[in-house]
Point group: C2
């Protein structure tokens, strides 16, 4: 549904719809949490799509450039990617690196306006991550 629309918008814009492209978009859209390039590659492999690392990076770059995907950082050196517009505030377990979503958009909207006014900044995005131990890893 949602996936149809991203892909069809891309198609209308004259971009090629390759297997990799639609698979990556679908992956990101259905994933519960942001995925690293490597995780994406592994997921694709499970679906019998064996894709080179480089290709994954390039696809992510493509999606980033069209404001379809965006980067999130969880404190290791990997970047992770998620669809723009999905909630992007997370609670990350520092041990197992599992991430869950939290929705704090309302609170942040207020804060962003405050900052724009106070500092003359034109805010284009933000990242908000909480780190800690999930109920499993606490034991």
């Amino acid at each position: 549904m949602k996936q149809e629309s991203v892909i069809s918008v891309l198609r209308e814009q004259g971009h090629r719809i390759t297997n990799v492209r639609s698979a990556v978009v679908e992956l990101l859209e259905t994933s519960k949490s942001p995925l690293s390039a490597d995780e994406i590659r592994e997921e694709l492999k499970k679906r019998k799509l064996d894709v080179n690392k480089t290709t994954v990076y390039r696809e992510l770059d493509f999606l980033k450039g069209r404001n379809i995907a965006q980067e999130v950082e969880f404190g290791d050196k990997k970047k992770r990617y998620e669809i723009v517009g999905k909630h992007h505030h997370h609670v990350v377990c520092v041990q197992c690196k599992r991430a869950e979503d939290v929705d704090l958009q309302q609170d942040l909207d207020v804060v962003e306006k405050k900052i724009a006014r106070g500092k003359g900044f034109q805010i284009t995005g933000h990242s908000l991550e909480f780190f800690g131990l999930c109920s499993n890893c606490r034991q």
Copy 2:
């Protein structure tokens, strides 16, 4: 003042106080925004302290391990470091990478408690960064 105390605590704990150690601590304590390993190295060089990259990383690791410094990420592949306890919410200009502080601790305290209750997460830290264009780069 503040610097005295960090250093003297370390001394009391039996850690050696080298030129590099006290210089890095002072740097971080007086810096207006988080610094990358390389920025630290450059600053030290300005102060006639020529230090190897590795040493800077190791010192940062040391400070991190003692909960004196912590990492912050601004969306490029570099880690940046700041003193724990200094405000660590930032407004980052995506163009010039300059960062300013914003204090949102109050708002976040509330949110963290909410999350701890709702998700069974034991929150140990967070990162909150806003990205945008500063008044200079907007032109």
